[in-house]
Each structure stands twice: as structure tokens, then as C-alpha cells.
Amino acid sequence: MRKRKKLLIILPVVAVVALIVTIIALGSDGGSSIKIIGSNTVTPLSSVWAEEFMNTHPDVSIAVSGPGSGVGIAALINDTTDICQASRKIKQSEIDQAEANGVEPYEIQVATDALSVVVHPSNPVSELTIVQLSAIYTGEITNWNEVGGNDAEIVAIARDTNSGTHVFFKEHVVQMEGLPTEDKSLEYGGDVLMLPSTEEGVSQVAYNPNAIFYPGLGYVTEEVKPLAIMQTADSTGVLPSVQTALDGTYPIARPLLFYTDGEPTGVIKDFIDYCLSSEGQEKVIEVGYVPLQ
């Protein structure tokens, strides 16, 4: 009786262990893997690239995740990722931290983004200056009628601090870098909603007639309306598009970057070469971003 009971326990345990070992053995066929962590903005693009690359190189597996550029850069510094995708440049303090950890950040621009500012299609406002945008996001302007819209409170939506877009928008729009009104002490206002993902922001704008948000060009859908951005009060408003980002007329265009530890080699180099090739750059237009030329 005791022997049978023992068998009843031992047999299933052995079976499970054997199953796990078999699965692991089948899985690791000596193929290589690439981890890409970072920007939520770049994720749609790198996902498409990863899929295409895996189709042509079946022994390579690529995992893409997009919690935010900040997360990607932190992973690069902690040496827990192969490629860091970022929608903002790495800061000097982050480079110092990386080098202290023995990591040499190597920057490669893979595409460009025209950072779009979107509102609900029913919103009568169709263009804003950078100064007005800054005032909206610091909480100085609270009603749409102050910028030519309806009498309704503005619901300003942003990304959280994990996001590279949050940082880029803060420096170039809220703090108005490069303009005579530049003010590095400005911060996002207390009523700005900080959401964890770009999709959530876009869906909020599609639903709420008083919302405003800044997704990357690749996330702009038919359900939201991009605004024309005016550099100053006398310039003409420019809508975000592949064309206006390439010819430099759109005021808030930014590079989309890959960072690696030192110059890329092996499978990582092959992947990045594919991304920079003409087929890879065609995919950029398909996804909705701006190719390198």
C-alpha cells in the first residue's frame, strides 16, 4: 500500500519534469535571440521589423517590448537588453552611468517621427502655436475658448515619466527649447493626466471632445484630428506628415533611435542593417513614421 502511494506521487512529478526538460530542449535549437526594450513610440515599427526579420531568419527570435524610452535606457545601463529603442536622445548623466557600468552607448538613428498633437474631430480648433501648447500643458490656459475653441475645460493628456515622448515634449514644447520664450523651469501642470500607454491616450481623445494628446505619427488614426503647429504666432501652421518631417518644416520632429552596447555585431548587426536597408525603410512608411530620407 505504501509503495503504491509513493508511486502515485513520484510518477506525476517525474512526468512533469521530463515534459519541462523536453520543451526546453526543443526550444533552444542553438538559435539566437534579440531583446529590444524601450520606447512605446518605436514599438509598432520595431515589431514590424522583427516579424519580417524572423520570417527571413527562422532561427532568430526577437522580443520587443515598449514600456517607455526611460525603461529602455535603464535596461541599457543595467545591461539587460540587446537593443534599446528610444524616442529621445540619451542624456549625458545616463551616458555617465552607463560607462560607470561598463556599457558604451552606441547611437543609430533608424527613422524620424513627426510628433503629432491630436484633438477630437469635433473640436473647432485646428492650429496652435508652441507657446499656446506650452501654456495648455503647464495649466496656464485651462479653457478651449482661450485658444479659439468652445467654452469647455481642456483635458490635457500626457504620457508618464517612463516615456521618452514625455521628456521630448517637455523639453521642446512645454519648456519651449530654441524659442525666445524658453524657460527650463516649467513643468507639466498638476491637472495633466499621465497615462501609461499611447493607445490609451489616443482612445481617450477619440472619445472625449475636450481632450488633447501627443502621440507619435504612427499612432494617429482616423478617429482623431491632428493639429497644425505654428512655430511662432506669425508662421503658418504645419500639419504632421512624412513630407513635412523630411523637409524640416514641421517644428516638432524628432529622431527615433536604437542604442546598443558598443558597435553592433553578429545577429544584432544583421537586424539593424535590415532596418536601415531600403526594404526596412519602406516598412517605416507603412507603419506611419518617417523614413531616413
Binding site: P67, G68, A74, T161, L193
Partner: protein, 311 residues
């Protein structure tokens, strides 16, 4: 001591079997002991880690500025760390969740324990358990897609992403805990109490109201505390639904960022050992102390309940 079995005075073959049996006993008893110790070690380890990673930030920002400051700008130069808005936000969503889940939960528990026929109780209890098992990200999604537009139109708000929506979703998550524990507490009230009440001419409702619930009050309080603990610690739902605004919320319909969401939206960007990393761990420490306090109170109250009806 371990592994002792009473001496056997029969023939030789029995002796060898006895020795093996004692060794088995010894092994199992030490294994169980180690398992129990492991739990304590893990808990102490967590406390040690929180203190080690979180305390250094208080060299940069004094504790009162950290707890009562209203500015949280972790990536600015120089960074400022003040968590009042997060603390108040946690209190708000917990208050809303408790205000909704306690009356409904206790009433439901009273129904299941006192009034419901056995068949109804058998069907309803598993359904409540299923509610407890729904992943928090699914709850967040339901809150985002279904509840926030309703809240926005019902209360005429600018946006449905606010503490109220988060509180309602959290109440759905604390409800099963409150119902379960309250029902157990109500069932633990000795039947003699009810019989005495009926004997004096009381109706069922009068009995429930004046005898059963007061008798189970300690257990019900413990249930409420456990539900509160669940609401305080919930992250994914509040991250998606509470709005994430940095200003100190003055009403539950303001968009707000509770402490759990604050940690989740910053930890990805924080570089190991950096100032923002330490500040986030300090928030974690605050959260831990808050949850610990709630759990300790629940424990004390449950003990009193047990002693009250010990036979």
C-alpha cells in the same frame, strides 16, 4: 524530541522497520520547519530590501518634506520628491472602495449566512469566488472602456478617468473578501444566541440586526480591514483608470495618482541605485507600513472575535 516513536516489544524484524520510519519522521518534520522559517525569512528580506533601497533618499529629502511635499518631479534637475498627492489619492480611492463595498458586502454576507436557502448559497458562493479571481488588468480594462464613459456622463465631468471610477473597480475587487470573511464571522455566532432571540419574540430581521451582526462585529471589522488592504495595494487597475494627475486631489472626481500607480509609472525609467529609484522604494516603504498597520489591526480584531466565542 523529533522522530520518537513508542518502543515496540515484539520480535526482531519489527526493529529494522522502526528505525527507517523514525528517520522519515525526522526528515519530514525538519522540512516543514524549514518551510515555515522560509516564509519569515522572505518577509524579513523584503523589509530589509525596502529599508536598504529606500532610506537613502531621506538624506536628500528630509522625511517631512517627502511625506508632506506636493511636488513630484523625479526627472527634473534638481529633482524634487513630495508624495502628498499620492498619499491623498490612495486614501481617496480606498475611501470610495470601502464606502461601496462594505454596505453591499456585509448585507450580502448577512443574506448568505442567515436568509438564503442552502441551494442559493451553494450557487452564489462560487460566483463570488470567481469575481475574486478576475485579473486586475481585466478590471482596469472594463473600468476604462465601460465605466469611465458612464461616470463622465453621470457626473458631468471633463473626464471619466478619476478616483471615483478607480474606487468603484476596487470595490468590486474587495467585495469577495469582505463577503467571505463576514459570512464566516456571522456563521460563527452560536446558534443559541439566535434561538434565544426568537424565543423572546424577535423577527428574523430584528435578530440579524440586534444579535447576529453585533455578535460578529469583530469578524466583520476584520473583513473590512482585509478589503481595505486589498484596495490600498492594487496597482494595475488604478494605473489605467485613476487618471494620473499630479495635483493633490480635493474630490474623488479629480483625476489622481495613488502610490501604487506612482511607483509603477516611474520604476521603469529609474536607474538602479539612482535618486529616483530610491524615492520610489521609499514610496514602497510607506505603502508597506500602511498595509502592515491595516493587517495588524485586522489580526487583533480577529483574535478578539475568536476569544469571544471560544468554547
Amino acid at each position: 524530541m523529533f522522530g520518537k516513536t513508542p518502543p515496540d516489544t515484539t520480535a526482531e524484524p519489527g526493529k529494522v522497520l522502526r528505525r527507517r520510519w523514525r528517520l522519515g519522521e525526522k526528515l519530514i518534520e525538519s522540512w516543514i520547519f524549514l518551510a515555515g522559517i522560509l516564509t519569515i525569512v522572505v518577509l524579513l528580506g523584503i523589509i530589509a530590501l525596502l529599508l536598504k533601497e529606500g532610506l537613502p533618499v531621506f538624506w536628500y529629502t528630509p522625511p517631512w518634506e517627502f511625506l508632506f511635499g506636493t511636488k513630484w518631479y523625479p526627472i527634473s534637475e534638481p529633482p524634487t520628491f513630495g508624495i502628498t498627492s499620492f498619499f491623498v489619492a490612495t486614501l481617496w480611492v480606498t475611501l470610495v472602495a470601502t464606502a461601496i463595498s462594505v454596505p453591499i458586502g456585509v448585507a450580502c454576507a448577512a443574506y448568505l449566512a442567515e436568509v438564503a436557502p442552502a441551494k442559493v448559497r451553494e450557487t452564489v458562493k462560487p460566483i463570488i469566488e470567481i469575481l475574486a479571481g478576475i485579473p486586475s488588468v481585466v478590471m482596469g480594462f472594463i473600468g476604462l472602456m465601460l465605466l469611465s464613459p458612464l461616470v463622465q456622463s453621470a457626473f458631468n465631468l471633463n473626464t471619466g478617468l478619476c478616483g471615483l471610477t478607480a474606487g468603484i473597480m476596487l470595490s468590486l475587487m474587495s467585495l469577495p473578501i469582505i463577503i467571505s470573511v463576514s459570512e464566516d464571522a456571522l456563521r460563527a455566532v452560536p446558534y443559541d444566541f439566535r434561538e434565544a432571540s426568537y424565543a423572546l419574540g424577535a423577527t428574523k430581521w430584528e435578530t440579524i440586526r440586534h444579535v447576529c451582526i453585533p455578535g460578529a462585529l469583530s469578524g466583520i471589522t476584520a473583513a473590512v480591514m482585509l478589503g481595505v488592504g486589498r484596495a490600498i495595494g492594487e496597482t494595475m487597475t488604478v494605473l489605467m483608470v485613476a487618471g494620473g494627475a499630479l495635483a493633490v486631489p480635493v474630490s474623488p472626481t479629480d483625476p489622481m495618482m495613488p502610490m501604487t500607480a506612482a511607483i509603477a509609472s516611474g520604476i521603469g525609467n529609474a536607474v538602479r541605485g539612482g535618486l529616483q529609484y530610491q524615492a520610489l522604494f521609499a514610496i514602497g516603504l510607506t505603502l508597506f507600513i500602511l498595509t502592515l498597520a491595516v493587517n495588524l489591526i485586522a489580526d487583533r480584531v480577529l483574535e478578539r472575535q475568536k476569544r469571544k466565542f471560544a468554547r
